[in-house]
């Protein structure tokens, strides 16, 4: 059942306020790292790593790292519940399936010989 309205207090929520306070510094640090990574991405884009594919991979690695930080720290995924992890795992599988199987279809056309 729901907590009756009288339970809410203007005091910090007992369980998490303390942890939240410690995390504030972490959020600022991650923000700084993300900013630096952005500049890194731009800088690296002007370096030639050989092939166009290599350039793309480098950029995507940095982008994935940034996205990982946002997801893990800002979106609290690092300490989320298994229900949420399950949703995201299923989604990831299907997103990869959509892309990979379509890529397979495009790269495997029928041959006349």
């Amino acid at each position: 059942m729901e907590h009756p309205p009288s339970e809410h207090s203007h005091a910090p929520h007992p369980d998490t306020a303390h942890h939240v306070d410690q995390h504030v510094k972490g959020y600022l640090a991650v923000g700084a790292v993300l900013g630096l990574c952005t500049l890194l991405t731009v800088g690296l884009s002007f370096v030639n790593f050989g092939t166009q594919n290599a350039n793309i991979i480098v950029a995507m690695v940095v982008a994935t790292f940034k996205a990982g930080l946002v997801a893990a720290i800002f979106m609290h995924l690092k300490s989320e519940k298994w229900t949420i992890y399950r949703f995201l795992l299923i989604t990831l599988v299907f997103a990869i399936g959509l892309f990979a199987l379509t890529a397979l279809a495009f790269s495997n056309p029928i041959r006349l010989n």
Binding site: G35, T38, N48, I84, I90
Partner: protein, 291 residues
């Protein structure tokens, strides 16, 4: 009976309802942008040589916008943290910055980036006519260097009437630096700062043109994809701004007085949406602006 677990967590899942709901919604958004990014990949990989451009988008502006969005992600999580610690004025401060960052992002996009595109022109040259415009395309030089051919002449269209009037038989294009000086090694790759439009004007016969237009979505697969993805992303930014503003107004204060944890949860949930929007941009920026 009231609906349980709107604020407090259900014991076995450890989650309150809105958190389950928003993550499910974000899962569907992953599939939505996943579908769009898949389209991007297949259209780009399937593009004929020279038809997928580079260097048309403004990198410094894009970088700035990326930093703005990242900053707003930081401020929104600080706003949520302030609510958890019951520091209401701090919440209002950080939320205001978040909203302003979002507005700034959209303003830059809608008043500068997109209009700049709409005023730029490009003409795709027919395959058989490429040799004729070699002075503006430099394909011999590119072939010798093993680089992809150029098939387009871009710049400012001097005679805009040519777009509507069929009796005008040529486009007068004040060319971009890359077409004005195609064999200069500086033109081989995009540069960080956009090079200004040159003084040289090319007269391009309409008969030699496969397709020409301003840089509208219809101009090419690249611009179609660019405008669709950044447009849809922009709509999501707008949605986030609207909801944040709603909670910044006295509605938020009233909810805070009744049940501060409820407001904290709502901000957390919208914040998750906002982070996702930031996440999408983290991929959009390199894929369109840099690569």
């Amino acid at each position: 009976m009231e609906i349980p677990y709107t604020v407090s967590a259900r014991p076995d899942t450890g989650l309150y309802n809105a958190k389950v709901g928003i993550w499910l919604f974000l899962a569907s958004e992953v599939m939505l942008f996943g579908g769009l990014f898949s389209a991007y990949v297949f259209l780009r990989v399937g593009a004929l040589p020279g038809y997928w451009p580079h260097g048309f988008l403004n990198v410094p502006v894009g970088t700035f916008n990326t930093l703005i969005l990242i900053g707003s992600s930081v401020t929104v999580v600080l706003a949520w943290a302030a609510l958890k610690m019951r520091q209401f004025m701090r919440y209002k401060f950080y939320m205001a910055i978040t909203i302003l960052c979002g507005i700034l992002f959209l303003t830059i996009k809608l008043t500068y980036e997109w209009p700049a595109k709409f005023h730029h022109f490009g003409a795709f040259i027919k395959k058989d006519s490429l040799a004729k415009y070699e002075p503006y395309l430099g394909n011999n030089y590119l072939a010798a260097k093993g680089l992809t051919q150029r098939v387009e002449i871009t710049g400012d269209l001097e005679n805009e009437d040519a777009l509507k009037d069929d009796s005008i038989t040529e486009y007068d294009i004040r060319m971009d630096a890359v077409n004005a000086d195609p064999t200069n090694p500086e033109s081989d790759r995009p540069t960080f700062w956009q090079r200004p439009v040159s003084d040289k004007v090319a007269k391009v016969d309409k008969a030699d043109v496969e397709y020409a237009s301003m840089f509208y979505p219809r101009h090419s697969a690249f611009f179609s994809t660019y405008f669709l993805i950044t447009g849809l992303h922009g709509l999501h930014v707008l949605g986030g701004i609207i909801v944040f503003t709603y909670f910044w107004l006295p509605v938020g204060a009233n909810l805070y007085k009744k049940n501060p944890e409820h407001l904290a949860n709502r901000i957390e949930v919208v914040g998750l949406f906002w982070h996702f929007v930031d996440l999408v941009w983290i991929f959009v920026f390199p894929l369109f602006y840099l690569l």
